[in-house]
Amino acid sequence: MSEFLQQLLNGLSLGAIYALIALGYTMVYGVLRFINFAHGDVFMLGAFAGYFLAPKVAQVFPPGSIAGALVVLVTVMAICAGIGASIEYLAYRPLRRRPKLTVLITAIGVSLFIEFTCQHRLVFGASPRTFPELLANKTLHLGGLTLNTNQLVVIALTALLLGGLSFVVQRTKVGTAMRAVAFNEQAAALMGVNINRIITFTFALGSALAGAGGILFAMTYTKIEPLMGVQTGLKAFVAAVVGGIGNLPGAALGGLVLGVVETLAGGVQGLSNYRDGIAFAALILILLFRPAGLLGRAQIEKV
């Protein structure tokens, strides 16, 4: 039992990171109807930004302090927001009126470009690096459970970010405009919405969350390398699809489900090598029964 709870907790903290990344895929899909395959690489860049930033911040704030960790997190989120918005501006905007397939292939190109540029020895190099300890990680024993404080930080921070995102999307003017653009871009333009600005904002917001995901991932797993966004990004994308692509709560839910299923499968004796296979099989099953995803509607009606 406690073994199960333990794995559940591990799964949730992994799923929280998937959720943070999945939101970016689903938001961009919502407004532009295409998959930004470079999104996983923004996650990676977030981790590296944190890697280079942490020692500088540690000169000002005591190492391992909450204030220092927050400064790193917020700065990295801002940097990633800028990166995401720039990718859109440079790579996707010129193709706005082109077929979606063109943009999709461009996204794959951008992704490969970032990955292989970063692997160059003059950039990050291909070998893994050890992420500095941002927060003093303590191990707690609670009943039969072993938790480390980092896991709790991951879960709490993700909850906070999801709450913030939900507020922005549901309660603010720019969030309402995002939903309007996602539903009908032309009608939104007739309200006076500058579509390009909303698209920039959407990329920035999603990328900031991916940056936060990068930091949390690096804090938890400590090894970072330029290709770390490939598999994690793919999984987050699948999580977004499982949740119902274009649906924000769906992306969060899909991420958590994927993290938990994957971790539980990995915890079973003799199955741990198949954890990804089992996780993906479970997701395929979900999609068989709910083709539009857990929270997706079959097809949003467009008048």
């Binding site: 003017k173 405009a177 996602a182 539903f183 032309q186 009608a187 333009a189 007739l190 006076g192 919405v193």
Partner: protein, 237 residues
């Protein structure tokens, strides 16, 4: 001096020419209708005026300012509202949020609240349903919402594309009465596109007849209604 002046507008979709040089003008406080059969190019005309479609050539001057190369959101800012064909309400937003979107460019909170009150007195049904998701409104209610939403932008010039489409006759009468009211009480200039020429010519001061991308007739409403060609083609004999 006209509020809107369109000169020799040519519009094409790829290889298909849809508007072959149309010209029209609308004076301040006027209600003008553009009537014509299916595929004549009425919707294309309005979409070009609000910047959703680019003209190949020709000019559109609004309040003395050329607007034919401006993006839609800047055209809206100048006071040109557009209730599009098929209503295009944001079905995923509530009625209230739709109206808020209409006021997207407005900064003055008091003015927004006033405008909201006005829309609610115009269409009390919207007030009753302001927490409802717009996609679940009936067709007629969605039309009211689309008009209300455009009014929230406090336009000086309002274009309506077939507000009678798919709506029961009784409600159509109400909606047309409201359009007149908006024009009289608010002094908003109206350009009304309609297939229901009878009704359109009742509320409009003047009208243009558009046939396959060309303006073929232009006159005061009573004259158009008396015109034998118009009678046989658009007024059912």
């Amino acid at each position: 001096m006209s509020l809107l002046e369109v000169r020799d507008l040519h519009v094409n979709y790829g290889a298909i020419n849809v508007l072959h040089g149309i010209s029209l003008r609308v004076a301040p406080k006027e209600v003008v209708t553009l009537i014509g059969g299916n595929g004549a190019g009425k919707t294309t005309t309005l979409r070009t005026l609000s910047g959703l479609v680019r003209a190949r050539s020709g000019t559109v001057v609004f309040d003395g300012k050329p607007i034919d190369s401006l993006p839609p959101h800047e055209i809206v800012r100048l006071g040109l509202g557009h209730v599009p064909e098929g209503r295009m309400v944001f079905a995923n937003l509530t009625v209230h949020e739709n109206l808020q979107m209409g006021a997207y460019l407005q900064r003055d909170r008091a003015a927004i609240a006033r405008e909201l009150e006005y829309v609610f007195t115009l269409f009390p049904r919207l007030k009753e349903r302001h927490r409802q998701i717009a996609g679940t409104l009936s067709g007629g209610e969605q039309q009211m919402l689309a008009i209300g939403r455009a009014l929230m932008g406090q336009p000086r010039f309002l274009m309506l594309d077939e507000p009678s489409l798919g709506i029961a006759p009784l409600l159509v009468k109400t909606i047309f009465a409201k359009i007149s009211e908006i024009n009289r009480e608010r002094g908003i200039t109206v350009l009304l596109v309609e297939q229901n020429a009878n009704l359109a010519l009742e509320v409009a001061h003047r009208g243009y007849v558009l046939e396959t991308g060309r303006i073929t007739l232009e006159d005061a409403s009573p004259a158009l209604r008396a015109n034998p060609q118009v009678r046989s083609a658009y007024l059912g004999g």
